[in-house]
């Protein structure tokens, strides 16, 4: 099993993800350039990661331009074949823009960028991440200006029915309140997956919480979830 990290111009968490996966989780990692289109070395046991950052400077809309890159066409095909895809922050925005995940990420309700530790709780175990992290409350940093998850009523209903909400913002005790929501996201949604359970997107940054040196290892179980064979 190996990870591929897509590097867009303006990605800035690509190296962080590389360090987390390679140094902390001791995984094989391949960096993939957005202009390339060769994914022949990747099969469905592998995982492609769309890292955080400001791809294409977030011009137009966050993630709106990245979806048109040659590599994204291949990522969409890869996901269609059942390959695992994880988008973090800007990567989550790209997945929504490219239609691999439903909904959109809007500007934070307070209209400011926010970077801080938040608490997350997984609600279901019938997805790759939930199965691995269980019911434990995780402390993971967020860093975004446009992270307010939003979807129309119908989409929200189907997300709930299909148990696609993988993380909600909560307090340290695991209680989901408006006061523990850093951006005004609908239903405190921090991350979702697709119906098929091979495409995952989340605003918080697990790769910033995998190292003893940084004093927080809560992100490990999230990334580790993708290392197990199907």
């Amino acid at each position: 099993m190996k990870f591929g990290i897509i590097v867009f111009p303006g990605s800035n968490c690509d190296r962080d993800m590389e360090h987390a996966l390679r140094d902390d989780l001791e995984q094989d990692v391949v960096m993939l350039w957005h202009k390339d289109r060769d994914l022949s070395a990747f099969d469905v046991d592998d995982c492609l990661v769309l890292p955080g950052g400001f791809s294409y400077g977030d011009y137009l809309r966050c993630g709106a331009l990245a979806r048109f890159s040659p590599m994204m066409e291949q990522v969409i095909n890869f996901a269609g074949r059942g390959g695992k895809v994880l988008g973090i922050c800007n990567g989550f925005q790209i997945l929504c823009e490219s239609g691999l995940l439903p909904g959109v990420l809007l500007q934070n309700d307070h209209q400011k960028f926010v970077c801080k530790n938040v608490f997350l709780k997984s609600e279901h175990t019938d997805n790759i991440i939930g199965d691995n992290v269980g019911a434990r409350v995780l402390q993971i940093p967020v860093a975004h200006g446009e992270g307010r998850y939003h979807a129309d009523t119908k989409t929200m209903q189907s997300l709930r029915e299909n148990r696609q909400i993988i993380f909600r913002y909560c307090n340290q005790e695991g209680e989901v309140h408006l006061s523990s929501n850093p951006n005004g996201a609908t239903d405190n949604i921090a991350g979702i997956c697709n119906v098929r359970r091979n495409v995952y997107g989340m605003m918080p940054h697990p790769e910033r919480a995998t190292s003893e040196v940084l004093g927080n290892m809560d992100g490990r179980s999230i990334l580790e979830a993708f290392t197990y064979m199907n």
Binding site: N12, F54, G57, D58, K112, C115, N117, G145, L214
Partner: protein, 743 residues
Amino acid sequence: MPQNSSVTAAPASLEQALKLGLLEEEFEQIKSILGRSPNFNEVAMYSVMWSEHCSYKNSIKWLKTLPRDGERLLVKAGEENAGLVDIGGGLGCVFKIESHNHPSAIEPFQGAATGVGGIHRDIFTMGARPIAALNSLRFGLPDNPKTKWLVKGIVKGIGHYGNCFGVPTLAGEVYFEDCYQTNPLVNAMSVGIVKAGETVSATSYGAGNPVFIVGAATGKDGIGGASFASADITEDSAEQLPSVQVGDPFEEKKLLEACLEVIQTGAIIGMQDMGAAGITCSTSEMSAKGEHGMIIHLDRVPLRQQDMKPWEMLLSESQERMLVVVKKGQEGAVQAVFDKWDIHCVAIGEVTTEQRLKYYMQEELVADVPAQSLVLGGGAPVYERAYSEPAYFKAIQAFNPASIPIPGDLRAIAFHLAQLPNIASKRWIYEQYDSMVMTGNTQTNAPSDAAVVRIHGSEKALAVTTDCNARYVFADPFKGAMIAVAEAARNIVCSGGTPVGVTNCLNFGNPYNPEAYYQFVHAVKGMGEACRKFETPVTGGNVSFYNQGPEGPVYPTPTIGMVGVLDSMENKMTLSFQHPGDLIYLVGSAREDFNCSEYLHQLCGVTHSPAPHFELDEEHALQKTLAHLIDRGSIRSAHDVSEGGLFCCMLESAMSSGHGFNLHSPAGMRKDAFLFGEAQSRVVVSVNPDLKSLFEAEVAGTPYSLLGRVASNAEICVDGESWGYLPEWKQAYEQALEQALTA
């Protein structure tokens, strides 16, 4: 090759030169350098290169007295775009601080954003990858509507640029004082890491080597920005809006990656970013350093606006541009890298042996000047300004501490102090910065006095800080500047690091004002004295004069940016109390001294009082002791006493861990001075009670006293009296600034 050998445009008039900010004597000097009258393009070039911002003409005499040598220094101060210090293990650290005060005063968002962009460019132009951004900000009082507008814009600008560029903003300082009402200060610092042998110099040599302009297209933004920075801010300054540049962090992020990649090709002779004075500055400084000349074809420069005149291109401060000199024959490898990143890379000229800069426009020679004559250390003028002791010193000397009655309710005073803008949490500001990208910042989960940032692929870490209590400098420029250096070093030592170097940003008033110049001269002297003591050479920095509005100059603010090294993360020391029952000690002497404190200034309304107690030798000994205690593992936390005094220091150690404390004040001392005084050279440490005798043996020789214990609950107890619980204090401390700024 163009054939015109003499400049064609008509000579410029003295009146034009004066309008551009040159002095009459300087205009005469240009005529004698050229042996003829300069044309307008040339006068424009000299006006920016000889502005204070580029030439340091009013400061260089004194800057040269600062210690600029040290065994760790890999380049001398002023030789390159930023300082370069050897941190061992085959790594170098490149760092610099710079001001962007005047642009931020009139266009806070872009002014601050481009300040951040510019300082990062200074770092990666040397081949280093920036890993940390810091800043030092000064504003007027938060209840003023203009202050709110400035804070919001400047913070958003810093965040916008830094967050997108992808380098964490992980430390800084913010003060609010009415002297900064018209003229806020925005000082931005960048710290980068480079492997030994992979640095690039800002030089140019080798006749026939091509000269490339790389990065963004050139527009009319920022024309004359350097000259603008060299004049007082007035009501009319907003009319100078075109002098403010516009930043594009996405372009700069690509430029960073491409520049670091292109260095690996081995095809680069030299590289310099275009900041102040754009093409003029980069071509002249690189040529002067390499003792060569250049022919530049301005008509080949990619433009974002039509019909730009030669002087506009020469002076444009459009951001995200670099000048790169490439080995002839290796252009292809360089072009390929910039193509990969979709960045303009256009040959605009070549290196010549004749040490002149010749600029052409469609075969017409539009400017022809000797490179050396433009630059600092070459032909740029050097002045010595007159100074005299400020009249306000009398008011400072007249202060009598006995005139201040001891307040009855000290708890109420403490609670008020914790909410003062200069003391309260800056959370509302720093949460708008991405502080964690690059996964190196260890502050998030274990705060320390200086920010400790790990270096990926190495055992080492850096400790970085910016410090300056300008009120102390106002009260006593010499001592106040020493304190700024000492506090920076103390913060690094308290975090487990060894200080290795300083970059400074000297923010002062108009140098032609003898009192402002007195402050400058004495602050530089004090800074030099302290930097010699702590063996932290000044590797570079920036001077910003003319920081004053109609109400007078700002406090003299010589901001210190300091870098320290931790050989291992094991050495890192946090400021948080760790365990209930731990003993809390004061290392250093308790003093009955509340001079210049936030307490005296803000709550007692005393505007003039002497700087607090400080003795350089005492401070140096204290820091040696601290380093020893950390090295021996005999303390569990260390936090230096600064604004708000001993009580606020302990409160911060408590709030960050949730453990309360009890505190006993000594008899025979004013309790307000003991709790809230800001005498220097004091650190609060916590100690495992099992190691009490070890600690007391190790600390021997330095004065110390037992203050109390870390509580098993969240209660704060002073002399047996409950002062309430941490959640209440923390809420007040964390929300005060947001409330003040958003009210």
